[in-house]
Symmetry: C2
Subunit: 353 residues, 2 copies
DNA sequence: GGTCCATATGTCACCGATGACAGAGGGCCG
DNA sequence: CGGCCCTCTGTCATCGGTGACATATGGACC
């Protein structure tokens, strides 16, 4: 591939002049400009971004590190970040952290070595102190989960508040046996949601029952035995609060399979078929695109050296989309056939708040 | 952040020697090695990958360009590629192409300028001739859709064969009014699936009916009016073949909402709730992770300069996962209540082939 | 006519790591 | 003992583009 100097040679000018033409410098005669442009076209010259970045000392790219790229939530986050980045001619590097806290550091440092302009990270470990050394040099924004053991910008959803709204909604309908199912690995978010769940129970004067708090490890398929167990006990749950959409999908498959559509159900996080299931599923509407946009905005503000005093930690509200699955009261469980047989009016959704 | 020369100064050696230590060169006395390592630790020195890449003339990174990062299919592809790449200490740059063919070129060229080691692309336009100039310099693998107007490696699913299997399955059950619904924008894949659909009809001695071929534009939500229209006509469809999972999700939401669960249904592409719906949804099991792995393997083989004569175009089979939704025969439509009321045995799935 | 400034182009060094090559010291072998 | 190879370290140039600075030309203005 051709270099700037080759173009210069062909156009009979210096390399610097070619550089000027490429970068639209004012002080180039139209004659020379024409010659250079012809040479560029003839050689199919394309500037080498690597050398530009090298000279500049920084790569015009941002890193995005998330637990799982294929997860719908993070996929949407990445998409939003990428769109914002593109408008700034900034590239996006992605990396999966997996669920192993031990792998986080090396994966993230592999990104940082590249002299990125910024980093967006949804951490999986509970210690990001290793990032302290990089903080002065490259802006970072934490998403979904805040930073641990360092101070950093973050954009998270209102896990506690959202969970509380959902559970409150259930207690208002008379439910007193409400199960919590969540992933023990995603400690931070699950933990905060669990606290919100408990708080709403306390509010309603209900004693928390450890037997109703189901935490599973690894894949969401492991939520299934938990719910089976909970339903075969005496004094079973009448409502389920699922802490993430992965587990919701697994749980609902099981519940539908076993004919347990009489259970009230709320999912933290929307998912594709939520509105199409019978009964349609009430969800807390996490808005991953909003998370991504917000994080990108904040990140680029920092990249641009905005000295504005920015609020460090943004908490996005998580509205409850009330569909059918939560409207099942505890007293008179709707017979499963009813909702399925009646071709109801189109699914209606109430939004709270 | 410190440079190699600073480390060298502190350790009292030349920069080159530091380089040797960093890269594990054999010919360094253990004494010097110790001094350098101490200096590295003291300064927290981290090699500047930008200058390494610049010097090497190539960035140890691959680009992945897909229509939509947030799409579950491409999300899984990216994840698979990223995992493969990570084992080679290679970074992954992602970019969304959207559905606008006009934007493809600039988005892809923005990646290529970065002296990537390789490119994986699911194109949205029907002319990739602009890539010809890059082909000699950087290996490329096309996924999901083959390259147009240039010769390049590709990894695609068996669109034609898969569609034919699905439709054959329906005709075997007696269906003669089978609708096709697909996205007109994803011309290539949809087109091949449409051909497979037609071929299977011909095979069964059924004349293709243009009124049953529903192509929508843009978002999958636009598939909904099409199906509504098809079902309100006289001589309506008794079965639906949905050409992608996005449209399947939209269509099933509509069908369930309007009580049309008596329609036979097959989706090209699995999706999270497919097995949980009643009736559970028969799908053609595209395997995005496999696509990603295969593409990554091929790409890195090329990156490593493998001169092995590799088959240019890989076609991955797409098995049919027969669940319930396709088993509805055309003659005696199962009453919608039955499947919903009976708490059946756990969902069984047959796999073809 | 001299000063000043805008225009237009070139020269050179530099970003940080590393390949090519040089050279010093020491051991081994014929 | 001379030649040779192995070990160890250093010097220098280089990758490609660009910032700092120099230079040259031609009005405009006093």
């Amino acid at each position: 591939m051709s270099t700037m100097r080759e173009v210069a040679l062909l156009a009979g000018v210096s390399g610097k002049t070619v550089s000027r033409v490429i970068n639209g410098d004012r002080y180039v005669s139209s004659q020379v400009k024409g010659r250079v442009e012809r040479a560029v076209a003839e050689l199919g010259y394309v500037p080498n971004m690597l050398s530009q970045s090298f000279r500049a000392g920084r790569d015009n790219a941002v890193g995005v590190a998330v637990p799982d790229i294929a997860d719908a939530f993070f996929g949407s986050v990445i998409k939003a970040v990428e769109q914002h980045a593109r408008s700034r001619r900034t590239a996006v590097l992605v990396t999966s952290l997996g669920d192993d806290p031990a792998g986080e550091r090396s994966a993230v440092e592999a990104l940082l070595r590249r002299q990125l302009a910024g980093l967006i990270i949804a951490p999986v470990s509970t210690d990001q102190s290793y990032l302290a050394a990089w903080q002065g040099r490259i802006p970072m924004v934490f998403i979904d989960r805040p930073a641990h053991r360092i101070e950093a910008d973050s954009v998270v959803e209102d896990d506690f508040g959202g969970a509380a709204i959902a559970v409150r909604h259930l207690t208002n309908l008379g439910h007193r046996r409400i199960a919590f199912v969540g992933n023990a690995a995603a400690v931070v978010t699950t933990g905060r949601r669990l606290l919100g769940y408990r708080a709403a129970l306390v509010e309603a004067g209900i004693a928390a029952d450890p037997e109703l708090e189901g935490l599973y490890l690894n894949g969401a398929e492991n939520a299934v035995p938990i719910i089976r167990d909970m339903l075969t006990r005496n004094n079973p749950a009448t409502a389920v609060f699922s802490s993430n959409s992965q587990s919701s999908i697994a749980l609902l498959a099981e519940l539908h399979d076993s004919g347990h559509t009489d259970l009230a159900f709320i999912s933290f996080g929307d998912f594709p078929m939520a509105a199409a299931l019978r009964p349609s599923v009430t969800v807390l509407d996490q808005n991953p695109a909003r998370v991504g946009e917000t994080a990108a905005e904040r990140l680029f503000a920092r990249v641009d050296g905005s000295r504005a005093r920015l609020k460090r930690n943004l908490v996005l509200p998580v509205p409850l989309l009330v569909r059918e699955s939560s409207e099942i009261s505890s007293n008179q469980p709707e017979p499963p056939t009813k909702s399925a047989r009646t071709p109801r009016t189109r699914t209606s959704t109430r939004r709270i708040p």
